[in-house]
Symmetry: C2
Subunit: 277 residues, 2 copies
């Protein structure tokens, strides 16, 4: 999916919501545990209930890997289910990979050939050759960690380079622009650092940003939109727990749909105020 197509989906659905499929087997509604593949059954119902309000899904790989090969099967089925039933939805492998070139090539094969993800999150620590292999697939995207939403972000991401005066996350934003384009590179910027979005937009005015941390982690959607929106929206705002665990009873998918719709309606308002609809 290219940038224009993504923007068209955002306009069509009046939403820039990404639903994080952080599907934890230990948190599933009890009645699903009798199903053959409880994680997939859960995802299927969540997807059907929220697809109308979302432009992207983001399975968090850790949750699937924690169940070994069975979890990977649930993940593969989930991606296939989205692609078959909702082909215009963007699917992000939240994997935070990053390794030497020959290894990153293999990860790219895993996510873009073996499975049909549209994007994968990548950690920048190992530099250019760890990131570029993900950019060789037409219509596929790298989403590079820049400024993350967690407390540990303060350990290294704000260290200021003596020579340029750039903080590490700024160096990542600036250097990586030589590796890719606005058509194959997005950045992760946590909503809990929304006040930084304005500065970040000066460095990367056109790139899409994936923004986690709204909801459970405490970030504000209004703040994110005010500081981060560009002429093609340029934002995918992720919500995981606030939607998929809105209820853990029999009505879990219905409540997830309600929660997704609420976010979508707020997003519609923000898109409209920005004259993007």
């Amino acid at each position: 999916m290219n940038r224009q197509q993504l923007f068209e989906q955002i306009q069509k659905k009046k939403s820039f919501l990404c639903v994080g499929l952080d599907t934890d087997i230990q948190k599933l509604p009890k009645h699903l545990l009798d199903e053959e593949d409880p994680m997939f059954s859960f995802n299927q119902e969540i997807i059907d209930a929220t697809a109308e309000f979302s432009v992207a899904y983001k399975p968090n790989l850790a949750f699937y890997e924690s169940l070994g090969s069975n979890g990977i099967i649930s993940l593969e089925k989930t991606v296939q289910y989205i692609k078959s039933n909702y082909p215009d939805i963007f699917i992000i492998a939240d994997a935070k990979r990053g390794d030497i070139g020959n290894t990153s090539n293999l990860y790219a094969r895993a996510f873009f050939e073996n499975q049909d993800f549209d994007a994968v999150t990548v950690a920048p620590y190992m530099g250019e050759d760890s990131v570029k292999p993900f950019m060789t697939y037409d219509g596929k995207w790298v989403i590079l960690l820049a400024l993350t939403s967690n407390k540990g972000a303060f350990d290294f991401q704000f260290l200021k380079d003596e020579e340029t005066g750039n903080q590490l996350f700024e160096s990542v934003l600036k250097t990586s622009q030589n590796w890719g384009t606005v058509e194959n590179l997005m950045y992760v910027v946590g909503a809990t650092k929304a006040e930084k979005l304005k500065e970040i937009r000066e460095i990367v005015p056109e790139h899409f940003l994936l923004v986690p941390g709204v909801g459970a982690q405490g970030g504000s959607l209004q703040e994110v939109a005010k500081n981060g929106m560009n002429s093609q929206c340029g934002l995918l705002v992720n919500s995981s727990r606030g939607i998929i665990y809105a209820s853990n009873g029999n009505d879990f998918s219905e409540k997830a749909g309600v929660a997704a719709k609420e976010v979508q309606q707020e997003m519609a308002k923000l898109l409209s105020e920005a004259n993007l609809l």
Copy 2:
């Protein structure tokens, strides 16, 4: 496995060799492709041929993930095979994970509960809460990326912090010492940066270092030992392609054994020169 036990294995085998199981389905000897699980068959033969000369194995997760759930099954079988047949060998998941605390918890569950790895490689970009969940398992280890062996290491790892004068990899070494101990934390330091090992040993004199990049990537074992060895050896030197692809004919495992033995003999000499045997 604790540090003392690891050192005892090094002394017993006169080796600090880690064999990297970067098992690429596209590079397997042709005759294995008829087997039910070619990757596992390959690993099994490689392990049997090299276990005498190695103290550790390091499956590179990307190679298994590139085959989806089937690859994960091959990986699970490989780990079980090592644990059953060579219980004193240290097994590293070369995964380079790192995510917010609640997600890193799940990765830890994947590697240390669902599978029986002894250690996992972790990327430091997201800071403390992304690393610590891996340290809560007794006898299990984090191996944190400090200075990697690839060209991209120069993009960010040498940026110098204005305030402390530390380069990023030095900040990682110093800050992370508050998170773990010499009993649950090692560091990745590439052999291609062997001249840096002396400086690194000043910061982390006692920690074990996992050193990739000897062989195919061009690092020298003598240089690594000279600059990096400590009173408990303190080194695990990885070789992947130079051993597992020493031949791609019917004699692949025999040749892998010969290649591993050659490295082991050089290591025995270095250990002896350092009075560690």
